[in-house]
């Protein structure tokens, strides 16, 4: 065992740093560092630069254009990106639908869909959740009724993140047996968003953001060729993937960067005749989060190491999402505490590039309360932390 980078790994790290310095657009970097939400154009611009470099798909097999990096390389990449201020790749194409396609799709489907994802020509969104389904995914009601070479899709998907930008949506739909709960009746469909029967309505979340949407399907005709794999196997495909690729689920690199920023902000915040970082209560809470994050980083490294040696991810990987969201939310609270009274103002657009008014407060710290509020979703979306605990209890602890 050792923690040091090999000379190859050090060389790779330098290459990544050089690439980021030369290629990451200044405006994208600034907004990312300030945690200001990026627009579609910004993401696409950056992802096309990654494509040029051949670094767009860090989790794909090489034959489809993936990087084929080692766990250590992925670790270096994630940390350098977070540190320097490069945004994460939007996951719906690269990390969610692509693996389903290259694992279970036909040759024809691979040819048709993967290149456009790799080049960021097409924006994907996810159609899993439904109103009232909550964490109980399998109870979905959206139907796809076979009619010749097409399915006729009816129903509603919800919590569709950035669906307002999407060209395509991948959905779990009920083919055959409409009796709810029958998981063997669920199929995996790819649907083009420009269909007249599809309407997207925004859901405003607590921080005042428009990130998620409801997507309504009204007699939407989808070619059978857009179904991935077997009819009725969609649930299996989705599940395998939920438990498969866990890299980054803990958001360790991003939390490390946020903690670094927080320390700087706290050291610039007056607290009587000292600064906030010197406040014993505050610095102790900060240190406790930093230590827990350090532990989580090694939990992730242990998981990556296991996977790289061909083993299945060990039990430790199952805690990544719970601890990752808990730590991110604890950081949100320390940001709020740093803001003090300047957590109160709500001038939602004052940190966008086109804002021309007089800004309130000492900087982006002023938006810490909306961010805290908005980020409560982290422990709810993508399988709530309660569901995660049920899963660990059953599958890891055997209870």
């Amino acid at each position: 065992m050792n923690i040091d980078f090999s000379s190859e790994e050090l060389a790779f790290q330098q290459a990544v740093q050089k690439f980021l310095q030369e290629k990451l657009p200044a405006d994208i970097r600034e907004w990312t560092l300030k945690e200001i939400p990026l627009g579609k154009e910004d993401f696409v611009r950056w992802q096309k630069i990654l494509y040029e470099q051949g670094w767009a798909a860090t989790n794909w097999p090489v034959e489809h254009g993936g990087t084929g990096w080692t766990p250590t390389q992925k670790y270096i990449w994630a940390n350098e990106c977070a540190n320097f201020g490069a945004p994460d790749v939007i996951p719906f194409g690269f990390k969610m639908v692509a693996p389903v396609i290259f694992t279970y799709g036909s040759e024809e489907q691979k040819q048709r869909f993967l290149p456009d994802i790799l080049e960021s020509n097409v924006w994907w969104c996810q159609g899993y959740s439904e109103p009232n389904a909550g964490s109980d995914l399998a109870s979905l009601k959206t139907t796809a009724v076979r009619d010749g070479d097409e399915y006729i899709v009816n129903g509603t998907k919800t919590w569709t993140t950035l669906g307002q930008y999407a060209d395509w949506i991948f959905c779990l739909v009920r083919t055959g047996g409409t009796e709810v709960k029958n998981q063997a009746a669920i199929s995996f469909l790819l649907i083009e968003m420009n269909h007249p029967g599809i309407t997207v309505s925004p859901i405003m979340t607590l921080g005042g953001h428009h990130e998620v949407n409801e997507v309504h399907f009204n007699n939407v005709r989808v070619p059978v060729g857009n179904r991935i794999g077997e009819e009725g196997q969609g649930w299996t495909y989705a599940k395998v993937l939920l438990t498969h690729e866990r890299t980054g689920i803990a958001r360790v690199a991003s939390s490390k960067k946020r903690l670094k920023t927080l320390k700087k902000l706290a050291s610039e915040t007056c607290d009587g005749d000292a600064n906030l970082l010197e406040n014993p209560a505050f610095s102790q809470k900060l240190a406790e989060v930093e230590i827990d994050l350090l532990a989580l980083e090694y939990t992730e490294l242990r998981a990556l190491a296991a996977v790289s040696t061909g083993q299945a991810p060990g039990p430790e990987s199952s805690i990544l999402k719970i601890k990752g969201t808990e730590i991110a939310q604890q950081l949100d609270e320390l940001y709020m505490e740093t803001a003090g009274y300047y957590g109160m103002p709500f001038v939602s657009n004052q940190f966008t590039s086109d804002f021309d008014g007089e800004r309130v407060g000492p900087g982006v710290i002023t938006s810490s309360v909306p961010r805290y509020i908005n980020n409560r979703k982290a422990s709810i979306y993508g399988g709530s932390n309660e569901i995660q605990k049920n899963i660990i209890s059953k599958w890891v602890l055997g209870l």
Binding site: S129, N132, G134, S135, D136, S139, T158, W159, K181, I203, M204, T205, L206, G208, T269, C270, D271, G272, D273, L276, A281, F282, M336, E337, A339, G340, Y341, Y342, G343, M344, P345, F346, V347, E358, V360, P362, V369, P370, Y372, I373, N374, R376, K377, S379, I380, Y381, S384, N385, E386, K389
Partner: protein, 375 residues
């Protein structure tokens, strides 16, 4: 010892509670928050007619007696309704400064108007660098003949945009964090050199950045003696903090019960989620936090009325404990509501926002824990 409400207190509670239930539902409140001034003048006049604006004041000042228990009763109900009218900023906080710091003539001039609902006040104390330290005052007032010349920047002044007059804590002597040398000035909000930038706060209230550039304030507008304002400010802050704790308790009562009711109807995997034992035990924790917050609030209110010099410690205990309860109950209410909990359309979300800002307003739990411990 006696823990029962007087008849008057029960009547007061009934009248406020009736108003909240009948005339202050969630949709109306949303409209008020979205309106120009951010609250309803009509409601304000009603508060005045019903005598609620007189609650914080002593009988000899023309008030209803100024008992902390009475104030608690009103603010709890306001918490249940998430009331956005500037009762706390204008009547409780600023009113206390006038009632306890001003001359008889100033009182005569101002308190009547305040209780009639014809005068709106705001207290400008916090500054960009001050955090929760009331003695940290960099805004200066320099004596020039019969005037003070006022310069500085006051941060997040509650009701700062809507106020007719501003009570401003200024430094007339001593160093920036010196307890002595702080003076209270009453400043007309619309005079030259006063620059107010108003905004909505996260919780739907209104506040403003207020900047003073060579503002002339007649010496006659000084409230109390020069350089001796801190004790009056601390007293006003203690009462306002108690009121804030009461508002939090009312809001917590509302959402912990709403959460319980929601889990009785919301089904997952074919069962009401309220049947899941893990969630049941967490709701018991919410309930426990609520009861402990209600108890510490009662303790602080009784100490304020008993007036045995324990008030500051008691208020800090209440704010520290209430802040912790507000955090747990607010976070759990959202978590147990799931996806819907993080949307604008759900009222619980807005209670959560207010409980979040209350955690930090007038001092965080850590700040008040240390104040309680005498550090």
């Amino acid at each position: 010892m006696d823990f029962s409400y007087s008849e008057e207190q029960q009547m007061l509670q009934n009248s406020v509670s009736k108003f909240i239930q009948q005339d202050y539902d969630f949709d109306r409140r949303c409209k008020l928050v979205a309106s120009d001034i951010g609250f309803s003048q009509e409601n304000w006049q009603l508060f005045a007619e019903l005598g609620w604006l007189m609650v914080p004041f002593k009988a000899e000042d023309g008030g209803l007696g100024g008992s902390a228990i009475d104030l608690m009763v009103v603010m709890e109900e306001f918490g249940r309704g998430l009331v956005v009218e500037p009762f706390l900023a204008s009547v409780v906080l600023s009113g206390s400064l006038i009632a306890n710091g001003a001359s008889e003539s100033q009182k005569r001039e101002l308190l009547g108007l305040l209780m009639d609902g014809q005068l709106q006040l705001a207290f400008a104390f916090a500054e960009p660098q001050s955090r929760y330290n009331l003695a940290d005052v960099a805004t200066t007032a320099v004596r020039e003949g019969d005037n003070y010349i006022l310069n500085g920047h006051k941060a997040v002044v509650l009701n700062g945009e809507g106020a007719d007059k501003l009570l401003v804590a200024v430094r007339t002597g001593g160093s920036q964090i010196d307890g002595n040398g702080i003076t209270l000035l009453l400043v007309e909000a619309n005079v030259e050199g006063v620059h107010r930038q108003g905004y909505t706060t996260v919780d739907g209230h209104r506040a403003a950045e207020v900047k003073f550039r060579n503002v002339k304030v007649p010496v006659a507008n000084r409230v109390g003696e020069e350089g001796t304002a801190l004790p009056v400010i601390e007293r006003a802050m203690d009462w306002a903090t108690l009121a804030l704790c009461a508002e939090a308790v009312g809001a917590m009562d509302k959402i912990y019960k709403k959460t319980i009711e929601y889990t009785k109807t919301r089904e997952q995997f074919g069962v009401a989620i309220g049947k899941f034992q893990a969630l049941q035990h967490r709701m018991v924790d919410m309930f426990t936090e609520y009861e402990q917050a209600r108890s510490i609030l009662l303790m602080a209110a009784l100490q304020l009325d008993s007036n045995k010099g324990m008030a500051p410690k008691a208020v800090s205990a209440a704010k520290s404990r209430t802040g912790k309860a507000a955090r747990l109950i607010g976070q759990e209410a959202i978590q147990l509501h799931g996806g819907i909990g993080v949307t604008e359309e759900l009222d619980v979300s807005h209670y959560f926002k207010r409980l979040t800002t209350i955690q930090y307003l007038f001092g965080s739990s850590d700040f008040h824990t240390l104040r309680f411990a005498g550090h």
